[in-house]
Amino acid sequence: MKAMRDVWGEKLVQLGDSDPRTVVLDGDLANSTKADKFARAHPDRFFQMGIAEQNLIGAAAGLASVGFVPWTSSFTVFLTHRAIDPIRMLVAQTYANVKIAGSYSGLLIGAVGKTHLDVQDLAIMRAMPGIVVLAPADETELVSMMDWATVHEGPVYLRLVRDAVPDLVGSDYSFTPGAVHQLRSGNEVTLVSTGPQTSRVLTASDQLAASGVSVSVVHVPCIKPVDSDALLDAVGDVPLVVTVEEHSIYGGLGSLVAELLTANRSAPRVVRIGIDDTWGESAGNDFMLAKHGLSAGRISERVRSLLPSRVAG
C-alpha cells in the first residue's frame, strides 16, 4: 500500500515521460507532495515558484495558454484558499487547461493543526463554474483520473490525501467523469461517500450488515460534474441516506446529495456526517477520525442510532 502522494508523484513522472506538454509548478513543497520525483526526472519542466501560490496559479495559466499541461504542487489549503482569486479569474473563468492537484486535503495530514487542514475545498471548488472536481479513493482511481485529466482540455481540481489508503476499486477500473459506483446494495439505509473515506464507510457497512442492517454504499469520486440520475438511482428508495466525508458538512458531498434528493418530490431523510462547523487541530489520524465521527466504528454507531430501534440479537 503506497502513500497517495507517492502514487501521485510517480504518475506525474510517467505523464512527463509520455507527454512532453506535462509541466509542474511547485510552491516549495515538492518533497512533501512528492512532485520531487518529477523534478528529478524532468528538471527542465519543473518550475519552482517559491512560497507564492497566487503567482503559481497565474503562471500555470500562462503556461497552459501556450500549450503546456501544468500540474500544481502544493497543499490544498494554500491553493483553494490563498490562491482562490487567481483560480477563479485565470483558471475557472477562462477554462484554462490547468490541473490543480491539492495535496494534503482533509483531516489526516499529520500533526500540523488547523492552519494546514483543508475541509472546505470541495465547497469552494464545487461553487466554481467550469472546474471538474475529483476525489480519488485509492491508487487505481487516482492513476485513472490523472490519465483522464491529462487528456481532458480544461481545468481539473484533484483532491489528494497524504497517506496510504486501502484499495477500493478493482484493477479494471476506468474513470468516467460523473459516474457513481454502488459498492453495496441494501434497503434500509444508503451511505454515500467520496475519496478514501469510502473505504472506512465500507468497513462501517460491514459492521452494520453483521448486525442485520440492510445497507447500500455509494462511492462518488467525481463531485462535479455528477451524473444526477445515476446518483439518485444508486441511492435508491431508502428512508435514510447518510453522507460521510472528510470535509465540512457544508457545501461538499453531503450538500450535493441533499440538493439532488430534495429536488425530488419525496426525499428521504438525509444526515450529513463530516466536520460539523468547527476547526481542526494537531492530532494523529485515529484521534481525528474518532473525534469527527469518521472512523468506521463511529459511523456504524451513528447510523445505528438513526435507524428505528430493533431488538438486540
Binding site: 509541466v23 515558484m49 517559491g50 507564492a52 503562471a59 500562462g62 503546456f68
Partner: protein, 328 residues
C-alpha cells in the same frame, strides 16, 4: 548598484500616425463610456500612447489571425482600462469600430473587463488587479520551454502594483531570468480614490491626491528585485519606441525589463488630466462636447480609413525582425 537605463531617442518611425491614432482612440473611449454610461476614462487615457505605440509599432500580431501561435503576447493587467484596449484593437482591425457601441452591454464581446473567452485577440482575462504579470511569467516560461521567440508584454497600473501577487511574479521572473518578459507600468500617480495629499506630499499636478508611491523609489525597488529598469515619458512616442526596442532585445545580463512610463491620468482631455475623479466617470453633456472639440478627428473619414488597414511595416508576420532595433 546598477544605474537606470534611459530610453534614448528613437529612429525615425516611418508609417503610422501614432498621435493621430491615439487621439482617435481617446475619442472612442470618451464616446463609448458616455454612451454606455459606464466604464473608465482616466486610466485608458493615461496609457493610450503606450498602447497605440505597442499595437501600431511593436507587437508582432496578426489581426486577421488573432490566435497566431507565434504572436507576441499582450496582457492588460489593469483590466479596468478595457475600453482603451478595445478602442486600439478596433483601430488595429481586431474588431469593427461600430462594435465599440456594444461595450458593457449584455452578450457583448466587449465586457467591462477583458474576457478572453469572448474576444479573440485577448491573451488574458483581467480585472481582479495584480494578476496579469503572473500570467506573463507563465507565457515567458512557456516560450522558453517551447523554444519560441515571441515577447510577452504586460501593462500594469501603478495603483495596481500595490497588490502582493505582483511582487510574487516580480521575484519569480527575475529568478528565471525572463528576458522575454516586459512589464510596462502606467505611472500616472493616481488610483481610484487613494489618499489625500498633505503639505508634505503636495508637489505634483495630481490635485488633492497623493501619489500612491510617494516617498518610494520604484525604480530602485525593481532594480533591487533584479529587474532592468527603464524610465520614460509615457507620452513621448520616440522614447516609447526606443524603450520597446530595448525591451525586446532583452537584457544582456538576463534580467526581465520593466518600463516605468510616467504618464498623466486622463491625458489628452484637459478636463480630466491629473484628476482622480475621472478614474471612472460618465461625462456630462457639457464635458462630452468639450471632449469632442478637443479630440474628435478633424476628418471624420479617418475613422473609416484605419480599421482593417494596418500601416505598412507594422505586421510582424511580414517583417518579423523589423521592430528589433539595436539597443538604444
Amino acid at each position: 548598484m546598477t544605474s537606470t537605463d534611459t530610453a534614448a531617442t528613437a529612429q525615425n518611425s516611418a508609417a503610422p500616425d501614432l498621435p493621430g491614432l491615439a487621439r482617435q482612440a481617446r475619442w472612442q473611449v470618451i464616446k463609448t463610456v458616455t454612451n454606455a454610461k459606464a466604464g473608465h476614462i482616466g486610466g485608458p487615457l493615461s496609457m493610450m500612447d503606450l498602447l497605440v505605440s505597442l499595437y501600431f509599432g511593436e507587437l508582432r500580431i496578426r489581426p486577421e489571425e488573432p490566435d497566431w501561435p507565434e504572436r507576441d503576447r499582450f496582457i492588460l493587467s489593469k483590466g479596468h482600462a478595457a475600453i482603451g484596449l478595445y478602442s486600439v484593437m478596433a483601430l488595429r482591425g481586431f474588431l469593427d469600430i461600430d462594435e465599440l457601441a456594444t461595450f458593457d452591454k449584455g452578450d457583448s464581446r466587449l465586457q467591462g473587463h477583458p474576457d478572453l473567452t469572448r474576444l479573440p485577440g485577448l491573451d488574458a482575462s483581467t480585472g481582479s488587479l495584480g494578476q496579469g504579470l503572473s500570467v506573463g511569467v507563465g507565457m515567458a516560461l512557456g516560450a522558453r520551454l517551447a523554444q519560441k521567440d515571441f515577447h510577452t508584454w504586460v501593462l500594469l497600473g501603478d495603483g495596481e502594483i500595490q497588490e502582493g501577487m505582483v511582487w510574487e511574479a516580480v521575484q519569480v521572473a527575475a529568478r528565471y531570468q525572463l528576458t522575454s518578459l516586459t512589464a510596462i507600468i502606467d505611472r500616472n500617480g493616481l488610483q481610484q480614490f487613494g489618499l489625500p495629499s498633505t503639505d508634505l506630499t503636495t508637489h505634483t499636478d495630481r490635485g488633492d491626491r497623493r501619489d500612491p508611491w510617494f516617498g518610494v523609489d520604484l525604480s530602485a525597488v525593481f532594480q533591487a528585485f533584479g529587474w532592468r529598469v527603464v524610465e520614460l515619458d509615457g507620452h513621448d512616442y520616440e522614447q516609447i519606441a526606443a524603450a520597446y526596442r530595448l525591451a525586446r532585445a532583452g537584457d544582456p545580463n538576463g534580467r526581465p525589463t520593466v518600463l516605468i512610463a510616467h504618464t498623466v491620468k486622463g491625458k489628452g482631455l484637459s478636463l480630466a488630466e491629473g484628476l482622480h475623479t475621472w478614474h471612472s466617470i460618465v461625462p456630462t453633456k457639457e464635458d462630452f462636447e468639450k471632449a469632442r472639440s478637443e479630440l474628435e478627428p478633424d476628418e471624420i473619414d479617418l475613422l473609416d480609413s484605419y480599421p482593417h488597414r494596418a500601416p505598412a511595416g507594422v505586421d510582424g508576420a511580414d517583417s518579423p525582425t523589423s521592430m528589433n532595433g539595436a539597443e538604444a
